[in-house]
Amino acid sequence: MSDPALRLTGATIGYGDVAIVRDADLTVRQGEAVAVLGSNGSGKTTLSRGLLGLATVLGGTVEVLGSPVGRLRERGRVGYVPQRHTVSGAMPATVREVVGVGRLPRLGLWRRLGPRDRAAVAEAVDAVGLADRLDDPVASLSGGQQRRVLVARALAAEPELLVMDEPTAGVDAASQMALATVLARVSAAGTTLLVVTHETGALSGVLTRAVVVDSGRLTYDGPLAGAGPAGGPDCHHPDEPAAPPVRGYRLDQPRPAPDAVRVRDGSR
């Protein structure tokens, strides 16, 4: 536990030679659960992509699990849940097959999934509450369930650091609750969480620290509670209630308009 999970020192991250995030300093200890907040276009997704080697580090240093990001050999130690609403590609695939992909980084260049891997896949699917859908085609699942499949795919790798991009956006309440439960469990087991999001909503019980990105700069770094009720001081949702919208109502009560549980500006 000596190396921090993440250490950014004067990091500038972008695409090509265009800098999006500038001069970021951030250290995340192993086992922390951090929200990266900010409005659309603030650079919070670019920040997370920089940690995954999907965006270019243009200046400063970005260290992930003790190695410079470009030289991290065992990328499989990092789990990633992309910002995608659906899983389904052109061809049919079952939940088991999609989640099985998560095990591949641990298997070297050519080994196939073994009994140990299949057990981890089943466990990850069970953790997100979809054990009864293991052999169903992902296309038959709802959007929220498909997002949980993507979470299970990341969990199947048993990562030390889990990076998630908008895991709750546009997800139904049952899936949000399932997600909060599973994240609380992996966090308690010592996995470092980095959740990029507009609103902490259902996850505010899990995340303890918040970093706010605004126009490519880190403007806040501290306890989640201090980052403001609905996603930070710079979040552009002035009309939102002070309490996180999803947590506030029970399922058997009349539902608020669907918009209230979605991200309002329709991010991808």
Binding site: L52, G53, L54, L72, R73, E74, R75, G76, V78, G79, Y80, P82, R84, G89, A90, M91, P92, A93, T94, R96, E97, V98, G100, V101, G102, L104, P105, L109, W110, R112, L113, G129, D135, D136, P137, A139, S140, L141, S142, G144, Q145, R153, A157, D172, A173, A174, S175, M177, A178, T181, R250, L251, D252, R255, P258
Partner: protein, 341 residues
């Protein structure tokens, strides 16, 4: 079987069996990756290899294999650069390939160049005994690589960004897939033809994806369909005297249209019957499941959810999930349209 008495027919049927098996096995990954026309492009490139083989009096199968594999590697490297010029570079390579092939073949001694049609569209009389051996090796290698690396090829074809983020060797896997496609193209040059091979990669996959539930079953079904249309088309062309490649592709298209029509019809019928029998909650506000807040009620082979006194049965459809009313009475003897408790 009269057609099995001829040596050329035996060889043609063997070649069609192998190409029918291998082409869909790599084709499913191309469909998944939305790169359906890669096989077509590599077919163009292979033609230059064929021409070089004809001109230098070496076996054209070998030279075509070299040309197609080189083209495949080049294409993936250009794609990996990710520049906008990549598209143009591919066009240069593809059309350069076919133009080079046509021009080089025209330089061949008289009588040779008339074989162009056979290379492009397939012919049953052209498979040599030595070809069959080479084809067998290619088929075994292609199927072995797909068996071994299939999960990784699926991962990269499905979500390249995720594969990159978790450290799968994306470029290497893309090159492997392109080389598999190139090898399969060469396999096609006798019975299917270089211009038509792409159809045998794509169409069986397109049929299988309509009915498959898992990637694995879709792949196996695509291979089965490939073998059936390929062998049937080759045998058919013996009786009709038509080019085997065109015959095979038309068969595959006919099958594709028939299955599409069948699936559409089945879904429409199921939807109509369903709409009559049950109250349909098309816009159910949330999804029942573990922890949804409603009591789960086991009901025969499935679980209903007690939603304010209504038993809701989750029901999967192609477009997502919706809920039927399942009272005890309604399931025991479903009366038409009177299901509300």
């Amino acid at each position: 079987m009269e057609l099995l008495e001829y040596g050329f027919m035996q060889r043609a049927l063997l070649a069609s069996l192998m190409v029918g098996l291998a082409a869909p096995a790599v084709g499913v990954f191309l469909v998944q990756r939305r790169l359906s026309l890669l096989g077509d492009g590599l077919g163009h490139v292979a033609l230059t290899g064929v021409a070089v083989g004809v001109l230098t009096a070496t076996a054209p199968v070998g030279t075509a294999l070299v040309a197609a594999v080189l083209g495949a590697v080049l294409i993936e490297l250009v794609r990996a650069r990710g520049r906008t010029s990549g598209d143009v570079a591919l066009a240069v390579l593809f059309y350069g390939g076919i133009a080079g092939g046509v021009v080089l073949l025209s330089l061949a001694p008289r009588g040779q160049a008339t074989n162009l049609d056979a290379y492009l569209f397939g012919a049953i009389t052209t498979t040599q005994a030595s070809d069959v051996a080479v084809f067998a090796v290619i088929t075994v290698v292609v199927l072995a690589v797909v068996w071994m690396l299939g999960q990784r090829l699926y991962a990269v074809s499905d979500d390249e960004e995720y594969a990159r983020a978790v450290g799968l060797p994306v470029l290497a896997l893309n090159v492997v897939l392109a080389v598999l496609v190139a090898s399969t193209v060469v396999l096609s040059m006798r019975v299917v033809g270089l211009l038509l091979i792409s159809a045998l990669m794509i169409l069986p996959s397109a049929v299988a994806q309509l009915v498959g539930r898992s990637f694995r079953s879709t792949l196996l079904l695509a291979c089965a369909i490939g073998v059936v249309v390929s062998v049937a088309g080759t045998a058919g062309s013996y009786y009709t005297g038509t080019p085997s490649g065109g015959t095979i592709v038309l068969l595959a298209i006919a099958l594709f249209l028939a299955v599409t029509a069948g699936v559409t019809l089945r879904e429409a019928t199921a939807r109509r019957r369903h709409g009559r029998r049950a109250e349909v909650h098309a816009t159910h506000p949330h999804e029942h499941g573990e922890g949804c807040g409603h009591r789960a009620v086991p009901h025969g082979d499935h679980v209903d959810y007690d939603h304010d006194g209504h038993l809701h049965a989750p029901h999967r459809t192609v477009s997502g999930i919706h809920y039927d009313e399942h009272s005890e009475r309604a399931v025991a003897a479903p009366p038409v349209g009177t299901e509300r408790p």
